[in-house]
């Protein structure tokens, strides 16, 4: 009886590839349809496109197209002074720009040997965690949004706006902050900031309970998410999977834990993991990460000193020359390992920077691989569950 309703026949013959890797699909045979998901499509994450070939509802081949957001940042920063790189650099990933500022400052500090004061480290940790919080408030309910559960998105976006308000109070900017600078940060917390942030965190606590009832206890959501878009454990190294996507198959990789930076070794946390590797596992990992981030922000606010020095002295930024060298710095963004390769040549401009975004692997090779055999309805859900962010692919 159960086989009667099993509508997923054996599709092991896909992908229809020839020996040299080219596609063995004859579009004129009328058995296949070519579909473009994006760039002008309400479902895709950002401005990217997936070209899929479908047979019925099954995808036989997928190809990611990027480059719609290419601005040539790496080229632009090569012709700017170190300090001029900051306004340019933060626009590389719009979802959580603070990681870009942190990496750029950290690279410059690494190469020129500047130590930053303790208070600045605490403030940087706080800002990075707040950035993660606002990003998770968008993506955790966003997974429900891919299954047309728009209610959670509406609630989440409201709370995200509150966190952005706190950012505005602290830094003056709503999306782009430019708060972290080489040598430290730009300012102390305003009066009453902690209380106001705590009020918002309490609202988020309520939201965490509500979103569990709405999404994770929902029968239809489970039906759509469990067993769909599975990442296998052996893929993690093969495809360079990092962050929550790797943690959802039980491989605990977290830069905050493994290569502890800033003040993370003084905080008490354990990166959440799951075992199944499907969409449901990834969204539960993100959900537990949301709970953990709220907890981390509370810990930071409790342990942080009230006042202190926030900026180490730096040379005049307009005539700053850094000796020849290169460095690779990394941090854990909400999508995974976020690194920057920074090369200087002794002049007043960097020779080369290269951003290593997690989506570079997730959205290209991994997505192309995962979409084969998937149902056409799940394209968007898989894309969101990998949390792809096109600007960091093409920069």
């Amino acid at each position: 009886m159960s086989n009667l309703f099993n509508w997923n026949p054996d599709r092991s013959k896909y992908p229809l590839m020839k020996e040299d890797g080219s596609l063995d699909v004859d579009l004129s045979s009328q058995k296949f349809t070519k579909l473009w998901v994006g760039p002008n499509h309400p479902g895709v994450t950002g401005n990217m496109a997936v070209e899929i070939t479908v047979s019925g509802d099954e995808i036989v081949h997928a190809k990611t197209h990027v480059g719609y957001l290419h601005r040539g940042f790496e080229k632009l920063i090569e012709r700017r002074l170190f300090i001029q790189g900051f306004p340019t650099c933060i626009r590389m990933c719009v979802a959580e720009p603070d990681y870009n500022e942190y990496l750029l400052s950290k690279s410059i500090e690494d190469l020129s040997g500047i130590e930053i004061p303790e208070m600045a480290e605490w403030l940087r940790t706080l800002v990075l965690e707040m950035a993660r919080l606002q990003s998770l408030l968008r993506t955790v309910p966003g997974q429900g949004g891919t299954f047309s559960l728009g209610l959670g998105v509406q609630w989440g976006m409201y709370l995200r706006d509150l966190i952005l308000d706190r950012f505005e109070e602290l830094t003056g900017g709503r999306i782009y902050h430019m708060y972290i600078l080489p040598g430290g940060v730009r300012g102390l917390l305003p009066d009453g900031f902690k209380e106001r942030l705590e009020e918002n965190l309490q609202l988020i606590d309520e939201f965490i309970i509500k979103i569990k009832k709405l999404m994770f206890d929902n029968a239809v959501f489970k039906k759509r998410a469990i067993g769909v878009g599975v990442i296998k454990k052996e893929w993690v190294d093969q495809f360079g999977i990092v962050g929550p996507n790797a943690r959802s198959v039980g491989i605990s990789r977290d830069i905050r834990k493994d290569y502890s930076y800033l003040k993370y070794q003084e905080l008490d946390f354990e990166p959440p993991t799951a075992t199944d590797g499907d969409i449901f596992a990834r969204s539960t990992v993100r959900y537990r990460e949301l709970i953990q981030t709220v907890d981390l922000i509370r810990q930071i606010m409790a342990k942080m000193p009230e006042k202190g020095d926030i900026k180490s002295p730096t040379p005049n930024v307009l005539h700053w020359k850094i000796p020849k060298g290169e460095t690779y710095t990394r941090s854990e963004s909400s999508r995974g390992e976020y690194g920057m390769y920074y090369v200087t040549d002794g002049s007043d401009k960097p020779r080369r920077i290269n951003l290593r975004g997690p989506s570079y692997n997730h959205a290209m090779t991994l997505l192309e691989h995962m979409l084969v055999n998937a149902n056409i309805s799940d394209v968007h859900a898989i894309m969101v569950s990998l949390q792809t962010c096109p600007p960091e692919i093409e920069r």
Binding site: L27, S28, K34, P39, N40, H41, P42, G46, N47, G67, Y68, L69, H70, R71, G72, K75, L76, R79, P87, T88, R91, V94, A95, R138, V153, Q154, M157, Y158, R160, D161, R174, I175, Y176, P391
Partner: protein, 230 residues
């Protein structure tokens, strides 16, 4: 304006960029005849667009303009980093639905296209296609400094500097990035323009069609589509 055919040589020049299914080919019909198929001219119209004059009756036109202003359907196409401020616009804090702003997923049904920030050349091609598929009257709302003069990407090799050289722009919203309030103010300004009957840029695009096309073709090197995407 006449429906004169476009110069076919222009299309054939760039045929190396075509996808295999769009290239000229010979096809055998079921009864054994061999016919030549040129998908670009067979499946797509090559006619030029026409100017659509407003209704001759002033009263009717005023009423219709009011309806157009109160029902702005926005194409859901996030072209740049400004698109991160579109979701807040539709959620409790800002709630643009109050002003009749709604998102539509397809260009056919939309009236407004928001160019949310910088435009890479590759995206510009898609934007032109989307813009041309929208129906008259249509409005363009350009978001961010990068659409005005290139903003902070003034020296980038892959982003355009001035949007109004490629498609006519109704309202600019300055800032990098503009806050959702500024975007709402932009919508209000657009409404004013529509109600005053000044937002006739769809016709302006048709009147200066050749000039716009020349500018577009200057930077889009692989022009593998019809000149006007019906």
């Amino acid at each position: 304006m006449t429906n004169d055919k476009l110069n076919k040589n222009q299309i054939e020049d760039v045929s190396k960029f075509f996808a295999p299914e769009n290239k000229k080919k010979n096809v055998e019909t079921p009864d054994g005849q061999i016919i030549e198929v040129n998908p670009l001219s067979d499946y797509f119209s090559e006619a030029r667009p026409k100017v659509h004059e407003p209704n001759s009756s002033k009263v009717v036109e005023t009423f219709l303009n009011w309806a157009r202003a109160e029902s702005l359907w926005v194409l859901g196409f996030g072209t740049g980093c400004g698109s991160i401020e579109i979701p807040p616009l539709l959620t409790p804090r800002f709630d643009a639905f109050r002003f009749g702003v709604q998102m539509r997923p397809t260009p056919r049904q939309s009236n407004v296209i928001i160019i949310s920030g910088y435009l890479a050349v590759k995206t510009l091609k898609r934007v032109i296609r989307s813009y041309e598929q929208m129906q008259n009257p249509k409005y363009v709302l350009a978001l961010g400094s990068c659409t005005i003069n290139g903003g902070m990407y003034f020296d980038s090799y892959n982003t355009i500097n001035r949007l109004d050289k490629y498609i006519p722009v109704d309202v600019y919203v300055a800032g990098c990035m503009p806050r959702p309030e500024a975007l709402l103010a932009g919508f209000m300004k657009l409404k004013e323009l529509i109600k005053a009957g000044k937002a006739e840029n769809a016709n302006k695009y048709v009147e200066n069609f050749d000039e716009y096309k020349a500018n577009q073709k200057k930077i889009i090197k692989d022009w593998n589509m019809p000149d006007y995407n019906w």
